[in-house]
Symmetry: C2
Subunit: 133 residues, 2 copies
Amino acid sequence: MPLAPLKLSQSLEDYLEMVYMLRKENGIARVKDISTALAVKMPSVAKAVLELKKLGLVTQEPYAGVELSKDGEKLAHQILNRHLLLKLFLMKLGVSEATANKDACSMEHILSAETLSKIGIFVNEFRKKGSSK
Amino acid sequence: MPLAPLKLSQSLEDYLEMVYMLRKENGIARVKDISTALAVKMPSVAKAVLELKKLGLVTQEPYAGVELSKDGEKLAHQILNRHLLLKLFLMKLGVSEATANKDACSMEHILSAETLSKIGIFVNEFRKKGSSK
DNA sequence: TTCTTAAATTAGCCTTGACTAACATTTACC
DNA sequence: GGTAAATGTTAGTCAAGGCTAATTTAAGAA
């Protein structure tokens, strides 16, 4: 159970999440694409990938794409789910998609489990009581 | 109009807000009390106060309490309002007071104006439609 | 008044996470 | 296959924001 005590920094969470998303979209997560997507330079990505490797969350052959380990996959999935929940939540409140996406990105790293859980409940209630969509 | 373009870091916002709160509660904001309240050491407070002085948000005589400038007062007030709005919002969702307080503290530094505005609307609607309290 | 203690400050260090510049490798095109 | 361009890596710098240790000032007790 190496996942329970693992607490990533905000920025590492962002990198891990982006690896996951790029692999989902493109089948591969290249340093260049990560750097573009997160608006940082390539050396910053390289450094972050090193960290994630040390933590056993990704693997990477030099000069090749970044792969997710079993643990990395699981964790990235959790993070992405949090992101999607928060984005949906904000949009229910009437926030525009672009802003919802941006703010979800910040919120996903800082909210406590309790708050996330209550937000989940709210989103579900909202769905049931049937808004327009 | 020196307030419009002024964008504090998260940590400076925390310090400024705490000065405001302590002065409200105790009449004086001492370095020691700020340090205790924010769970940092006194030298960190001293450094932050220096920054806030440079920005013209606080004044301070050596070895005395921290005072707020006109601008500092206004800004601190805004930050605290954001905090209170978010705390109330989370509690409406069913989050416990302690957690609401903690998460409001993190959220208050990162949310966009649009999201804050929508949250404000939600809280008001909620009040009208009359929940239990 | 003097001495002890608490509070505040200063100096200097450390980590995180970005950056640029320089170098290495791979890819792609001729 | 050889070379230009794109991609990846390494080395070293910087700023923010913490910290400890050492010093200075203020305050309170003997």
